[in-house]
Symmetry: C2
Subunit: 376 residues, 2 copies
């Protein structure tokens, strides 16, 4: 994996870059649609290319490990072969899901014992095991095993947790270096900065992570309920400490505004379920603002979904029709809204990249941040 910076914004810390992987180039800043169980919800794989313009998608280690299971994924030849997505994939470490989804869990310095939310079966994730799993999934970018602390989180807990996360990181790196990819393509391991909302812990963590000299670095434990200002403060602090010549990935963020603000702070990669999850509840993100398509005001609005939209659904379907579909609980509603929102998110980061390269990023960002938060 190789990262090169193609341009830097003069007014902010934003950068435009390129990540080279064995499955192709990713132009940054980039948003990565979440394909939890090996599928981006409600979107066909070819549509991810033709309409969403996705360059990399996510797979969740926790979900894929439990179902279909590693035997199936390995027999398929890895996740790329299994789901037919032949461009880059990033897998998370499963840490976040173990905490948010598993029925019961017990954290020890050795790892986490948990019960599957599907069938209650007991499993153990250790740093070494999580690397082994991600070798089998075969993502181009894989993540270190960490504890994602909740918000709020007491200082004492956050400090202790960070110690474990750093210890696990060391084990992950050792195991990663001692193992080979299972398939023909190479994999890069990203460590994750934690430390909750405590500056000294974030600084300690960012310095620890920076010293690993990984191919890319992630910021975790944010966007878990803390105020946005706190998230931006921590992101800015950490971005300044992470290597400038490696991509920075802010995990699980966020709204369109969060993404623009974080690009300005020096973040290169994002993932979030907001565009697809909110789509299924009728929330559309557009370049003019947010539409709650369920509202009565769209009942007789037969104008296209989004005249400025980049995917086929934007001119194909009207606002009134989508409103009807979502009230009727038609699957097509989630399909239309998910495709629209993901295409909008990709448009947003592609446009941000252009603006970084042509020097108009800050002005554009400030205008967009006001617009994107509007309710239409």
């Amino acid at each position: 994996m190789n990262f090169s910076i193609k341009g830097k914004d003069k007014n902010t810390s934003a950068r435009a870059g390129e990540i080279m992987t064995d499955h192709g180039i990713i132009q940054t800043p980039i948003f990565m649609p979440v394909g939890t169980a090996g599928a981006v919800k409600a979107v066909h794989i070819p549509e991810l290319k033709s309409d969403v313009k996705a360059q990399i998608i996510l797979g969740n280690t926790y979900h894929l490990y439990l179902r279909p299971g590693l035997e199936v994924i390995q027999a398929a030849g890895g996740l790329h072969k299994f789901n037919g997505w032949d461009m880059p994939i990033l897998s998370d470490s499963g840490g976040y899901q173990v905490y948010s989804l598993a029925n019961t869990r017990k954290l020890t310095p050795e790892g986490v014992v948990f019960n599957s939310h599907i069938d209650g079966s007991q499993h153990t994730f250790t740093p070494e095991k999580v690397i082994d799993i991600q070798r089998i999934i075969g993502a181009d970018i894989i993540m270190a095993f960490d504890e994602c602390t909740p918000y709020p989180c007491e200082y004492g807990y956050a400090k202790k947790s960070l110690g474990i996360t750093h210890q696990w990181l060391k084990q992950c790196i050792d195991h990663f270096n001692n193992t080979e990819p299972v398939y023909e393509h190479s994999q890069a391991l990203f460590p994750i900065v934690q430390g909750s909302v405590y500056k000294d812990l974030r600084i300690e963590s960012a310095e620890t992570i920076a010293s690993c000299k990984a191919d890319g670095n992630a910021i975790g434990g944010l966007s878990v309920g803390e105020p946005p200002e706190m998230m931006y403060e921590m992101t800015a602090l950490v971005c300044d400490l992470l290597p400038a010549d490696k991509p920075r990935y802010l995990m699980g963020v966020g709204t369109p505004v969060n993404i623009l603000e974080s690009i300005a702070l020096g973040v290169d990669m994002f993932d979030c379920v907001i565009p697809t999850r909110n789509a299924r509840h009728g929330l559309l993100y557009t370049s003019e603002g947010i539409i709650n398509i369920k509202n009565e005001k769209w009942k007789f609005n037969f104008s296209p979904l989004d005249e400025n939209g980049t995917s086929f659904v934007d001119l194909q379907y009207s606002k009134a029709y989508l409103r009807h579909l979502i009230h009727s609980q038609e699957m097509l509603a989630g399909m239309i809204a998910s495709l629209h929102n993901l295409a909008f998110y990709l448009w947003l980061v592609i446009e941000a990249r252009k603006r970084i390269l042509d020097g108009s990023f800050l002005e554009w960002k400030q205008k967009m941040v006001l617009r994107l938060a509007q309710r239409l």
Copy 2:
């Protein structure tokens, strides 16, 4: 509306025809995907053209009347404009849904009073009202209001019900003749043969319907639980009595085998929720037989969904991947399987048409009927 017969099979009553409508030509025999609430479940409108190869779709009067309601549909300029499907549409009369879905219903010779399954609100359908509603929906082919008798059904009830259905038909035709289309295109009204499984009633009904000299004629009240042999017997009986120079539509039928057998009896048009509903439960219809994709046997089968399939999903996705998606309750599962099944149904009727025209229909049908019923 105009119907012309392009070829007849020498060994069976099958025919290949063409229905001309103001929204284009329908080549028969044809299968019509069901778009209950103005959308075919889990399939994008453009995919209905590009992959399913649909030539006409259905809309349900009961559903559309309740939601989004006639005000919205009329303001949109009719259902074609509302959902963006610019090819032919057929609307049913709502009679079937009033009986199967409404919370409570009371049938009188004047009409049916029922409560919405959505909000409990009370509504009345009369023959005249159902014509008015279908004028506003604006389908190219609209249906007379009838009572679809259940199975089993006592002779006395079936006879009395048939009397009401025929009285309503007279009212529907009068009201249809006394009203104009709401939009620029013309509409055709199809009467419906009822009579349960009683030969004398079916004969009486078919003769009554034939005497109306409508642009096309439908056979209702079948595929409601009776044995297939009984359905075929009634269909054959009725087809022989309905005008040969008008299209015959067998409502709500059926499996691929039902469709081939009924084409042989002289049926030209079909609709059914089987391909989409069963798709969502993991049942795939293919030219080699039926696949229950949930089964363990497909867990490691990475071959394409259907090597002989005609839609993009057939080569895009593997059996093991679809199995995983359906077990994971991913929306993409229903999307893939629905598109596959509908494309298969359309392939089946298009192939039947070719076989009728080239004289090989009977031989092909007999071979296919054995194959299509197989469980793979």
